[in-house]
Symmetry: C2
Subunit: 134 residues, 2 copies
DNA sequence: CTGATATATTCGCATATGCGCATACAACGA
DNA sequence: TCGTTGTATGCGCATATGCGAATATATCAG
């Protein structure tokens, strides 16, 4: 079995794992440290169920790891470098359509490239009005 | 509309475009210069129809460009850096499963990282036994 | 220990998208 | 016109997605 094809297949799996906006945003969120499922769900405005499913996909691809503490399941980047790699990918979407203002990409690049924000010390119980730089 | 989500969506489109082994291999082939559809189809052991479809996906995502010369449609990387970026992605699949021998990844990395082979001067008419380092 | 609550995962189902294939169609050169 | 080259279309199938409900699992009160 040709090695090049095998490797291409695994690469394709990696790309598939990241081929969803919400999964990319999860990686983005985790740059600044571990989060539990609920905190992620709130930050990304998703249900815990979907959040958990996306995390499962990322976990299967060895992109995140789980740490349990009581009822909370904390997730963190298993390979933090992947975040920077994704940022590099912004280079290749700048020429895509005109759907995106280059200034928006620049601002997102700045956010991702900046030293990660420490996790806000919010309690996970707060269900709304968490500060977001969306 | 939150900029971060918009950008994440475009990134996800990029990942989707690359989320198939054959499309990755097309990028790989094009590292060494432009190829026409038939040459790619032969090298990748696919039908011209599928090859053309995959090229269309890559073209929509601004990863390849087309140059027509008579009956032949030549394709080449619009953003050659994307090949090196994909190679970097190999870093993140080395820990995936044990499906792949690390030595295989290393060899593929070497192939991709090496200065691209000049296109073999094969005629496109040869339908089999083209030299491959699979 | 029992029951109630908080947290996270899994399941079932409907819909959408991607894939592979075959085939029809279009563009070009001889 | 005829063969070559490439693209577009339609079909069957598999997989991904989104959502709500059901099911764990852990904590806590009594």
């Amino acid at each position: 079995m040709p090695a090049r094809y095998l490797v291409a297949r695994e690469l394709a799996e990696l790309f598939k794992a990241l081929a969803h906006p919400d999964r990319i945003r999860i990686v983005e969120e985790l740059r600044s440290g571990e989060r539990d499922v609920n905190a992620l769900a709130i930050a990304l405005k998703m249900t815990p169920a979907r959040t958990s499913q996306y995390l499962a996909v990322l976990r299967l691809n060895r992109l995140v790891e789980e740490r349990r503490d009581g009822r909370h399941h904390f997730y963190f980047l298993e390979q933090p470098d992947v975040a920077q790699w994704i940022v590099t990918g912004l280079t290749f979407i700048e020429r895509r359509f005109n759907a995106i203002d280059p200034a928006q990409i620049a601002s997102v690049r700045a956010i991702w490239s900046a030293p990660a924000d420490p996790p806000t010390s919010d309690r996970t119980e707060e269900t709304s009005s968490s500060p977001q730089k969306d």
